[in-house]
Symmetry: none
Amino acid sequence: MNARSTALVADTGRRNEAAILNAAIQAFGTKGFNGASMRDVAKGAGTSLSNLYNYFPSKSKLLAAALRHANLELQSRVLDAIDLAGDDAPSRLREAVRAHVGFVVDHQVATLVATNEVRYLDPEDRAALVADRDATQAAFERIVAQGAAEGSFRTPYATDAARAILSTVGAIASWYRPDGALSRGQLAEQYARYALALLEGPLAR
Amino acid sequence: MNARSTALVADTGRRNEAAILNAAIQAFGTKGFNGASMRDVAKGAGTSLSNLYNYFPSKSKLLAAALRHANLELQSRVLDAIDLAGDDAPSRLREAVRAHVGFVVDHQVATLVATNEVRYLDPEDRAALVADRDATQAAFERIVAQGAAEGSFRTPYATDAARAILSTVGAIASWYRPDGALSRGQLAEQYARYALALLEGPLAR
Amino acid sequence: MNARSTALVADTGRRNEAAILNAAIQAFGTKGFNGASMRDVAKGAGTSLSNLYNYFPSKSKLLAAALRHANLELQSRVLDAIDLAGDDAPSRLREAVRAHVGFVVDHQVATLVATNEVRYLDPEDRAALVADRDATQAAFERIVAQGAAEGSFRTPYATDAARAILSTVGAIASWYRPDGALSRGQLAEQYARYALALLEGPLAR
Amino acid sequence: MNARSTALVADTGRRNEAAILNAAIQAFGTKGFNGASMRDVAKGAGTSLSNLYNYFPSKSKLLAAALRHANLELQSRVLDAIDLAGDDAPSRLREAVRAHVGFVVDHQVATLVATNEVRYLDPEDRAALVADRDATQAAFERIVAQGAAEGSFRTPYATDAARAILSTVGAIASWYRPDGALSRGQLAEQYARYALALLEGPLAR
DNA sequence: GATGAATGAGGTTTCATTCAT
DNA sequence: CATGAATGAAACCTCATTCAT
């Protein structure tokens, strides 16, 4: 359970693939997709510029691969958390939000890249990624719908609430500092409560 | 009250300045700061490439000027709304959020540029812009503090709530379509309620 | 009548255009289209690499422009010569061949580029060029047909003879040296006779 | 008598050598020497990129080997044809031309490569190849000289005529299509007559 | 103000070739 | 013989910026 490892992609068979993907996330996160050069990525990965092209056919495909990895990790964390939660909507929402916050904090840079640089993908890759992302959002939407049906969430705007919650959680990546005042756990708790409150659901105490 | 005009910057004394600034917003919004070229901006503004440099000394300063305009407009809208609102925190929050949502909808592209491209400014310009932005955020924070003191907002996490609210409102820019299901007014109303609920404040009905 | 000037393209309004086109012919002639770099062309033209792109949008378009110029010059020389010749097919053929040989000798490199590097053009540009070239060939074909009808050319293969003649003339460019044994005029005379003989037409004496 | 086999190089002892040579001819013929990559050749040969270097030490040497094969085949066809012909110059010329045309048609691509890409050889390899080619041309020149001495060829330009003939024959490679109007045999006959006519020799009928 | 021409730096990508296995 | 991974050099092209007019 090294869920909090800083590297998003684990080493695989092909020696440099993980290093390249992680370096790409860092480079694109620091300088933006167009601001970062393939040389930057190569340097970060500790390999040569031309060798990048033995792994990924273009800069754009490299971004696509990196984002695909990030999204899969996020998705599995969130879905796993929901599976392990209770049956009532508030519990499920709470765990989903906590898992999402956990991912954002563990992979802050990847989260930023995923929100800011998607536009630079090929249309096909972008569509695929958006579909993946929508799948995660759909899990939240199902919970919201369940809670609205059960009467535990009383906001009149349940339909769009998932989007509002997810955008706040994602934005954490743009300001969180590991050495800040809030611990990882406190932050997750806080945002879980924000989410429940926003839905006008039952709050502790 | 042409608050909903599509152009962010109105014509000024200098003949092309507004055209250039608006073209810059469009170009940076469409292709990103590094993806858009000064040629793109010139074409959008209907002038020549070299003429841009008679107005702005560098691409980076052009971005800075555009963002400064956007921030000033946002700030004045929000502060004006607060001034016109009642004295109690919930009313003030409601109007502030409604004004902010209005700006985001009216200047969607500028909002996106302001959140995604700030990083490409010179350190000084970025600092100045962040300060401006913080001033707007501070207005929200004051309202939250007031409400917490009055007892109308009961969230245990009042300190950070302003940030959560503002990030959700800003994110509207990334998905709103003028021809979508929600009108401008409905959207503002919806997000005002989200904000009050998130703060665990008094909701209508 | 500086028909024998070594530069194919005369200076025009845009200062460097002619220099670039001539340098391109030289570079592509010496090293081939793919073997020559845009830097080679720039150096030959006495300008900077990037400035080439202010005149031609791509290497391929530069080749297209150069070949267009060459073909136009060849075509005008041949058609003019035919216009000035007598009415009978043998005279017309003689003058057409002499004019063609003159072009090949005057613009040896351009002739080589035109035959060897056409394949590297965009499909559209290639089609346009081939159409131009076919127009020149058609002039020869008309003469051959006229002579066959008049009975002055008696080869049983008149239809394809124009192609055979033109290929031999074009091949001169691959071996001719100005300081060789044959003068420009002698060469033209010799190939005119080859052409008439190949068509089984009336030879002097 | 598989003179018309499409592959220029027959299988040899070394398993892949012929495949590589034939793939090289195709690749260089399609994209030019500098336009084709060693990867293209490897793909065409059905082997790996690095394996090419077990057979040929460099791209340039690969071209040299391919052209050597082509020239040997051409030379042997032409010399054999002359050996089998009668003693008089016209018969010998006729057979030589027919054999040459046959080679061009059977190995169209190789002929194109041999004329267009020789320039990319090392100086030594180029010299060797030109010497080989000159040997073939010399055979034609001897026939022309013989005919001029016998009085059967009456052109005043006998010395250079061989070159004119060979260039026309070689040019067939740039336009011949197997499904065109002329059969292989008709084409050979036609060009044999062109050659005799050009030399002002005795024509049938 | 306004423009067209010019340029140096740097970007992505390809490629011939090498090497360890 | 055969391969996959690796690399330095160089290719085409773009771009922010400058300058003379």
